[in-house]
Symmetry: C2
Protein backbone atom coordinates (compact mmCIF):
# COMPACT_ATOMS: atom_id res chain seq x y z
CA UNK A 1 0.00 0.00 0.00
CA UNK A 2 1.56 3.28 -1.18
CA UNK A 3 0.99 6.43 0.90
CA UNK A 4 -1.12 8.98 -1.01
CA UNK A 5 1.40 11.71 -0.21
CA UNK A 6 4.50 9.72 -1.16
CA UNK A 7 7.24 12.21 -2.14
CA UNK A 8 8.05 11.76 -5.82
CA UNK A 9 10.88 13.58 -7.56
CA UNK A 10 10.09 14.00 -11.27
CA UNK A 11 12.54 15.34 -13.86
CA UNK A 12 12.26 17.03 -17.21
CA UNK A 13 14.64 19.00 -19.41
CA UNK A 14 14.23 22.41 -21.02
CA UNK A 15 14.21 23.05 -24.76
CA UNK A 16 17.57 22.94 -26.56
CA UNK A 17 19.14 23.09 -29.99
CA UNK A 18 19.74 19.51 -31.21
CA UNK A 19 23.40 18.49 -31.57
CA UNK A 20 24.52 21.83 -30.13
CA UNK A 21 26.58 20.41 -27.24
CA UNK A 22 25.10 23.18 -25.09
CA UNK A 23 24.12 22.82 -21.44
CA UNK A 24 20.42 22.23 -20.89
CA UNK A 25 18.65 22.94 -17.60
CA UNK A 26 17.02 19.92 -15.98
CA UNK A 27 14.32 20.59 -13.40
CA UNK A 28 13.33 18.18 -10.66
CA UNK A 29 9.98 18.71 -8.97
CA UNK A 30 9.17 17.17 -5.60
CA UNK A 31 5.47 16.40 -5.32
CA UNK A 32 3.35 14.95 -2.59
CA UNK A 33 1.79 12.14 -4.58
CA UNK A 34 -0.32 13.77 -7.27
CA UNK A 35 -1.21 16.68 -5.04
CA UNK A 36 1.17 19.58 -4.91
CA UNK A 37 4.68 20.86 -5.36
CA UNK A 38 6.79 20.70 -2.24
CA UNK A 39 10.23 21.58 -3.56
CA UNK A 40 12.34 21.94 -6.68
CA UNK A 41 15.85 21.07 -7.84
CA UNK A 42 17.93 22.10 -10.80
CA UNK A 43 20.96 20.81 -12.62
CA UNK A 44 22.33 20.98 -16.16
CA UNK A 45 23.36 18.30 -18.63
CA UNK A 46 25.04 18.46 -22.02
CA UNK A 47 23.11 17.85 -25.25
CA UNK A 48 23.92 14.30 -26.40
CA UNK A 49 26.44 14.04 -23.56
CA UNK A 50 26.64 11.15 -21.13
CA UNK A 51 26.66 13.09 -17.85
CA UNK A 52 22.97 12.75 -16.91
CA UNK A 53 23.31 9.79 -14.52
CA UNK A 54 26.18 11.35 -12.61
CA UNK A 55 24.60 14.82 -12.46
CA UNK A 56 21.25 13.51 -11.25
CA UNK A 57 22.92 11.22 -8.70
CA UNK A 58 24.91 14.12 -7.24
CA UNK A 59 21.89 16.41 -7.21
CA UNK A 60 19.81 13.85 -5.29
CA UNK A 61 22.50 12.73 -2.87
CA UNK A 62 23.39 16.30 -1.92
CA UNK A 63 19.93 17.84 -1.53
CA UNK A 64 18.47 18.56 1.88
CA UNK A 65 15.23 17.08 0.55
CA UNK A 66 16.82 13.63 0.13
CA UNK A 67 15.40 12.01 3.25
CA UNK A 68 11.81 12.70 2.22
CA UNK A 69 12.21 11.28 -1.26
CA UNK A 70 10.79 7.86 -2.02
CA UNK A 71 10.89 7.51 -5.80
CA UNK A 72 12.42 9.19 -8.87
CA UNK A 73 10.60 9.63 -12.19
CA UNK A 74 11.64 10.64 -15.67
CA UNK A 75 9.68 11.52 -18.78
CA UNK A 76 11.55 9.15 -21.08
CA UNK A 77 14.93 7.58 -20.46
CA UNK A 78 16.93 10.34 -22.16
CA UNK A 79 17.54 14.00 -21.30
CA UNK A 80 18.86 16.65 -23.68
CA UNK A 81 18.82 14.50 -26.80
CA UNK A 82 20.56 11.17 -26.23
CA UNK A 83 21.95 11.79 -22.75
CA UNK A 84 20.71 8.48 -21.37
CA UNK A 85 19.91 7.91 -17.71
CA UNK A 86 21.33 4.62 -16.43
CA UNK A 87 18.43 3.86 -14.12
CA UNK A 88 20.01 0.79 -12.49
CA UNK A 89 23.11 2.79 -11.60
CA UNK A 90 20.98 5.69 -10.37
CA UNK A 91 19.03 3.27 -8.17
CA UNK A 92 22.22 1.73 -6.77
CA UNK A 93 23.81 5.06 -6.00
CA UNK A 94 20.79 6.85 -4.53
CA UNK A 95 18.95 3.81 -3.10
CA UNK A 96 15.78 5.30 -4.57
CA UNK A 97 13.58 3.37 -7.00
CA UNK A 98 13.28 4.86 -10.49
CA UNK A 99 10.31 4.93 -12.87
CA UNK A 100 10.58 5.92 -16.53
CA UNK A 101 7.32 7.11 -18.08
CA UNK A 102 6.69 7.16 -21.82
CA UNK A 103 3.54 8.61 -23.37
CA UNK A 104 3.96 6.37 -26.40
CA UNK A 105 5.50 2.95 -26.76
CA UNK A 106 9.15 3.75 -27.49
CA UNK A 107 10.37 2.64 -30.91
CA UNK A 108 13.54 0.86 -29.83
CA UNK A 109 14.59 0.09 -33.41
CA UNK A 110 14.58 3.79 -34.19
CA UNK A 111 16.47 4.60 -30.99
CA UNK A 112 19.07 1.94 -31.78
CA UNK A 113 19.59 3.33 -35.27
CA UNK A 114 20.00 6.88 -33.95
CA UNK A 115 22.48 5.71 -31.34
CA UNK A 116 24.63 4.11 -34.05
CA UNK A 117 25.81 7.62 -34.88
CA UNK A 118 27.64 7.73 -31.56
CA UNK A 119 31.20 6.43 -31.15
CA UNK A 120 30.16 4.90 -27.83
CA UNK A 121 27.08 3.23 -29.34
CA UNK A 122 27.52 0.00 -27.38
CA UNK A 123 27.70 1.76 -24.04
CA UNK A 124 24.57 3.81 -24.73
CA UNK A 125 22.60 0.93 -26.13
CA UNK A 126 23.48 -1.17 -23.09
CA UNK A 127 22.01 1.53 -20.83
CA UNK A 128 18.77 1.38 -22.79
CA UNK A 129 18.57 -2.43 -22.66
CA UNK A 130 19.60 -2.41 -19.01
CA UNK A 131 16.49 -0.40 -18.11
CA UNK A 132 14.39 -3.50 -18.54
CA UNK A 133 11.16 -4.46 -20.17
CA UNK A 134 8.66 -1.78 -21.12
CA UNK A 135 5.23 -2.41 -19.64
CA UNK A 136 1.95 -0.57 -19.97
CA UNK A 137 -0.33 0.98 -17.40
CA UNK A 138 -3.83 2.28 -17.97
CA UNK A 139 -3.99 5.60 -16.10
CA UNK A 140 -7.52 6.44 -17.24
CA UNK A 141 -10.05 4.65 -19.38
CA UNK A 142 -8.38 4.13 -22.78
CA UNK A 143 -5.39 6.21 -21.71
CA UNK A 144 -2.13 4.36 -21.26
CA UNK A 145 1.44 5.17 -20.40
CA UNK A 146 4.43 2.89 -20.94
CA UNK A 147 6.90 2.43 -18.13
CA UNK A 148 10.08 0.82 -16.92
CA UNK A 149 11.09 0.66 -13.28
CA UNK A 150 13.79 -0.54 -10.92
CA UNK A 151 13.47 -1.12 -7.20
CA UNK A 152 9.70 -1.57 -7.30
CA UNK A 153 7.33 -4.39 -8.16
CA UNK A 154 5.00 -4.02 -11.13
CA UNK A 155 2.09 -3.51 -8.75
CA UNK A 156 3.86 -0.83 -6.72
CA UNK A 157 4.97 1.00 -9.85
CA UNK A 158 1.45 1.06 -11.29
CA UNK A 159 -0.01 2.21 -7.99
CA UNK A 160 2.46 5.12 -7.87
CA UNK A 161 1.80 6.06 -11.50
CA UNK A 162 -1.96 6.03 -10.98
CA UNK A 163 -2.06 7.91 -7.70
CA UNK A 164 0.22 10.66 -9.04
CA UNK A 165 -1.65 11.15 -12.32
CA UNK A 166 -4.22 13.69 -11.17
CA UNK A 167 -4.41 16.66 -13.54
CA UNK A 168 -3.34 15.36 -16.93
CA UNK A 169 -2.41 12.00 -18.38
CA UNK A 170 1.05 11.88 -16.83
CA UNK A 171 2.18 11.94 -13.20
CA UNK A 172 1.96 15.38 -11.63
CA UNK A 173 5.71 15.83 -10.90
CA UNK A 174 6.44 15.28 -14.61
CA UNK A 175 3.70 17.70 -15.70
CA UNK A 176 5.13 20.36 -13.39
CA UNK A 177 8.79 19.70 -14.26
CA UNK A 178 7.90 20.11 -17.92
CA UNK A 179 6.07 23.43 -17.40
CA UNK A 180 8.88 24.87 -15.29
CA UNK A 181 11.75 23.66 -17.49
CA UNK A 182 10.02 25.13 -20.55
CA UNK A 183 9.39 28.47 -18.85
CA UNK A 184 13.01 28.76 -17.75
CA UNK A 185 14.33 28.37 -21.28
CA UNK A 186 11.54 29.92 -23.33
CA UNK A 187 10.18 32.53 -20.91
CA UNK A 188 6.79 30.82 -20.72
CA UNK A 189 5.38 27.34 -20.35
CA UNK A 190 3.68 25.40 -23.10
CA UNK A 191 1.30 22.48 -22.78
CA UNK A 192 1.99 19.08 -24.28
CA UNK A 193 0.46 17.73 -27.44
CA UNK B 1 -17.89 36.74 -5.47
CA UNK B 2 -14.48 35.53 -6.63
CA UNK B 3 -14.26 32.25 -8.54
CA UNK B 4 -12.35 29.60 -6.55
CA UNK B 5 -10.18 28.83 -9.58
CA UNK B 6 -9.39 32.46 -10.45
CA UNK B 7 -6.07 32.49 -12.34
CA UNK B 8 -3.49 34.35 -10.28
CA UNK B 9 -0.01 35.17 -11.55
CA UNK B 10 2.41 35.41 -8.61
CA UNK B 11 6.02 36.62 -8.92
CA UNK B 12 9.19 36.14 -6.93
CA UNK B 13 12.86 36.69 -7.63
CA UNK B 14 15.82 34.37 -7.22
CA UNK B 15 18.73 34.94 -4.87
CA UNK B 16 21.32 37.54 -5.90
CA UNK B 17 24.41 39.34 -4.68
CA UNK B 18 23.35 42.73 -3.24
CA UNK B 19 24.55 45.81 -5.21
CA UNK B 20 26.05 43.52 -7.88
CA UNK B 21 24.12 45.01 -10.82
CA UNK B 22 23.69 41.43 -12.06
CA UNK B 23 20.57 40.09 -13.77
CA UNK B 24 18.27 38.16 -11.46
CA UNK B 25 15.70 35.63 -12.69
CA UNK B 26 12.09 36.46 -11.81
CA UNK B 27 9.60 33.61 -11.92
CA UNK B 28 5.88 34.05 -12.43
CA UNK B 29 3.62 31.17 -11.45
CA UNK B 30 0.06 30.88 -12.74
CA UNK B 31 -2.17 29.18 -10.20
CA UNK B 32 -5.79 28.23 -10.20
CA UNK B 33 -6.80 29.97 -6.99
CA UNK B 34 -4.90 28.25 -4.21
CA UNK B 35 -5.07 24.89 -5.94
CA UNK B 36 -2.41 24.09 -8.47
CA UNK B 37 0.17 25.36 -10.90
CA UNK B 38 -1.14 25.86 -14.39
CA UNK B 39 1.76 27.63 -16.08
CA UNK B 40 4.99 29.51 -15.51
CA UNK B 41 6.76 32.58 -16.87
CA UNK B 42 10.29 33.89 -16.56
CA UNK B 43 12.04 37.19 -17.03
CA UNK B 44 15.12 38.89 -15.60
CA UNK B 45 15.64 42.22 -13.87
CA UNK B 46 18.76 44.06 -12.76
CA UNK B 47 19.77 44.29 -9.08
CA UNK B 48 18.77 47.77 -7.85
CA UNK B 49 17.76 48.66 -11.41
CA UNK B 50 14.48 50.26 -12.39
CA UNK B 51 13.40 47.89 -15.15
CA UNK B 52 10.99 45.66 -13.19
CA UNK B 53 7.74 47.41 -14.19
CA UNK B 54 8.62 47.40 -17.88
CA UNK B 55 9.92 43.81 -17.91
CA UNK B 56 6.88 42.46 -16.07
CA UNK B 57 4.49 44.44 -18.28
CA UNK B 58 6.08 43.04 -21.44
CA UNK B 59 6.12 39.51 -20.06
CA UNK B 60 2.43 39.64 -19.22
CA UNK B 61 1.26 41.40 -22.36
CA UNK B 62 3.11 38.98 -24.61
CA UNK B 63 2.28 35.66 -22.99
CA UNK B 64 -0.23 33.28 -24.50
CA UNK B 65 -1.60 32.83 -20.98
CA UNK B 66 -2.68 36.50 -20.79
CA UNK B 67 -6.37 36.00 -21.49
CA UNK B 68 -6.80 33.62 -18.55
CA UNK B 69 -5.09 35.89 -16.05
CA UNK B 70 -7.24 37.83 -13.61
CA UNK B 71 -4.83 39.22 -11.03
CA UNK B 72 -1.09 39.75 -10.46
CA UNK B 73 0.65 39.26 -7.10
CA UNK B 74 4.08 40.12 -5.74
CA UNK B 75 5.88 39.18 -2.56
CA UNK B 76 6.81 42.73 -1.58
CA UNK B 77 6.89 45.76 -3.88
CA UNK B 78 10.54 45.36 -4.86
CA UNK B 79 12.39 42.75 -6.87
CA UNK B 80 16.17 42.22 -6.91
CA UNK B 81 16.98 44.70 -4.17
CA UNK B 82 15.35 48.07 -4.81
CA UNK B 83 13.97 47.45 -8.28
CA UNK B 84 10.52 48.79 -7.44
CA UNK B 85 7.35 47.69 -9.21
CA UNK B 86 5.12 50.64 -10.10
CA UNK B 87 1.86 48.84 -9.48
CA UNK B 88 -0.40 51.61 -10.79
CA UNK B 89 1.50 51.71 -14.06
CA UNK B 90 1.50 47.91 -14.27
CA UNK B 91 -2.28 47.94 -13.74
CA UNK B 92 -2.79 50.61 -16.42
CA UNK B 93 -0.64 48.83 -18.97
CA UNK B 94 -1.85 45.27 -18.42
CA UNK B 95 -5.42 46.04 -17.28
CA UNK B 96 -4.89 43.46 -14.55
CA UNK B 97 -5.35 44.26 -10.85
CA UNK B 98 -2.20 43.97 -8.73
CA UNK B 99 -1.82 42.81 -5.11
CA UNK B 100 1.38 43.28 -3.10
CA UNK B 101 1.74 40.88 -0.17
CA UNK B 102 4.06 41.54 2.77
CA UNK B 103 4.62 39.03 5.54
CA UNK B 104 5.50 41.82 7.95
CA UNK B 105 4.34 45.40 8.11
CA UNK B 106 6.90 47.19 5.88
CA UNK B 107 9.07 49.73 7.69
CA UNK B 108 8.64 52.65 5.30
CA UNK B 109 11.03 54.88 7.20
CA UNK B 110 13.78 52.32 6.70
CA UNK B 111 12.89 51.92 3.04
CA UNK B 112 12.94 55.71 2.56
CA UNK B 113 16.37 55.97 4.17
CA UNK B 114 17.77 53.18 2.01
CA UNK B 115 16.35 54.80 -1.12
CA UNK B 116 18.16 58.05 -0.30
CA UNK B 117 21.33 56.35 -1.52
CA UNK B 118 19.92 56.42 -5.05
CA UNK B 119 20.37 59.40 -7.38
CA UNK B 120 16.76 58.98 -8.48
CA UNK B 121 15.47 58.83 -4.91
CA UNK B 122 12.40 60.97 -5.61
CA UNK B 123 11.28 58.79 -8.48
CA UNK B 124 11.64 55.58 -6.47
CA UNK B 125 10.02 56.96 -3.37
CA UNK B 126 7.08 58.19 -5.45
CA UNK B 127 6.55 54.64 -6.72
CA UNK B 128 6.40 53.39 -3.14
CA UNK B 129 3.94 56.07 -2.01
CA UNK B 130 1.93 55.63 -5.19
CA UNK B 131 1.19 52.01 -4.27
CA UNK B 132 -1.29 53.21 -1.68
CA UNK B 133 -2.13 52.47 1.88
CA UNK B 134 -0.94 49.23 3.48
CA UNK B 135 -3.78 47.20 4.98
CA UNK B 136 -3.87 43.98 6.94
CA UNK B 137 -5.66 40.73 6.28
CA UNK B 138 -6.01 37.82 8.69
CA UNK B 139 -5.35 34.71 6.60
CA UNK B 140 -5.59 32.29 9.52
CA UNK B 141 -6.28 32.77 13.18
CA UNK B 142 -3.58 35.11 14.51
CA UNK B 143 -1.78 35.02 11.18
CA UNK B 144 -1.80 38.22 9.17
CA UNK B 145 -0.37 39.49 5.93
CA UNK B 146 -0.07 43.14 4.93
CA UNK B 147 -1.19 44.17 1.48
CA UNK B 148 -1.62 46.92 -1.05
CA UNK B 149 -3.75 46.60 -4.15
CA UNK B 150 -4.92 48.44 -7.24
CA UNK B 151 -7.93 47.62 -9.39
CA UNK B 152 -9.76 45.75 -6.63
CA UNK B 153 -11.85 46.68 -3.63
CA UNK B 154 -10.62 45.87 -0.15
CA UNK B 155 -13.18 43.07 0.06
CA UNK B 156 -12.19 41.54 -3.27
CA UNK B 157 -8.49 41.72 -2.41
CA UNK B 158 -8.98 39.99 0.93
CA UNK B 159 -11.17 37.32 -0.63
CA UNK B 160 -8.45 36.57 -3.22
CA UNK B 161 -5.71 36.50 -0.58
CA UNK B 162 -7.70 34.13 1.63
CA UNK B 163 -8.83 31.74 -1.08
CA UNK B 164 -5.31 31.42 -2.47
CA UNK B 165 -3.60 30.87 0.88
CA UNK B 166 -3.95 27.10 1.12
CA UNK B 167 -0.67 25.42 2.00
CA UNK B 168 1.31 27.99 3.95
CA UNK B 169 0.70 31.49 5.25
CA UNK B 170 1.06 33.20 1.90
CA UNK B 171 -0.88 32.81 -1.35
CA UNK B 172 0.02 29.65 -3.24
CA UNK B 173 1.39 31.35 -6.41
CA UNK B 174 3.89 33.24 -4.24
CA UNK B 175 4.89 30.11 -2.32
CA UNK B 176 5.52 28.30 -5.61
CA UNK B 177 7.29 31.22 -7.33
CA UNK B 178 9.64 31.42 -4.35
CA UNK B 179 10.48 27.69 -4.42
CA UNK B 180 11.11 27.69 -8.15
CA UNK B 181 13.10 30.94 -8.27
CA UNK B 182 15.32 29.68 -5.44
CA UNK B 183 15.89 26.31 -7.12
CA UNK B 184 16.86 27.94 -10.41
CA UNK B 185 19.59 30.02 -8.81
CA UNK B 186 20.72 27.76 -5.96
CA UNK B 187 20.05 24.31 -7.41
CA UNK B 188 17.45 23.52 -4.77
CA UNK B 189 14.51 25.18 -3.08
CA UNK B 190 14.46 26.40 0.48
CA UNK B 191 11.47 27.08 2.69
CA UNK B 192 10.71 30.47 4.19
CA UNK B 193 11.31 31.48 7.76
Amino acid sequence: MIKPEIRILGFDDGAFVPKSKEKVPVIGVICRGGKFLDGALKTEVIVDGLDATEKITKLINSTRHKQQLKVIMFDGITLAGFNIVDIKKLYEETKLPVIIINRKMPDLKKVKNALKNFGDFRKRWKMIVNAGKIKECEVRENKKVYYQSVGLSEEETEEIIKLSTTRSFIPEPLRLAHLIATAIVKGESYGRA
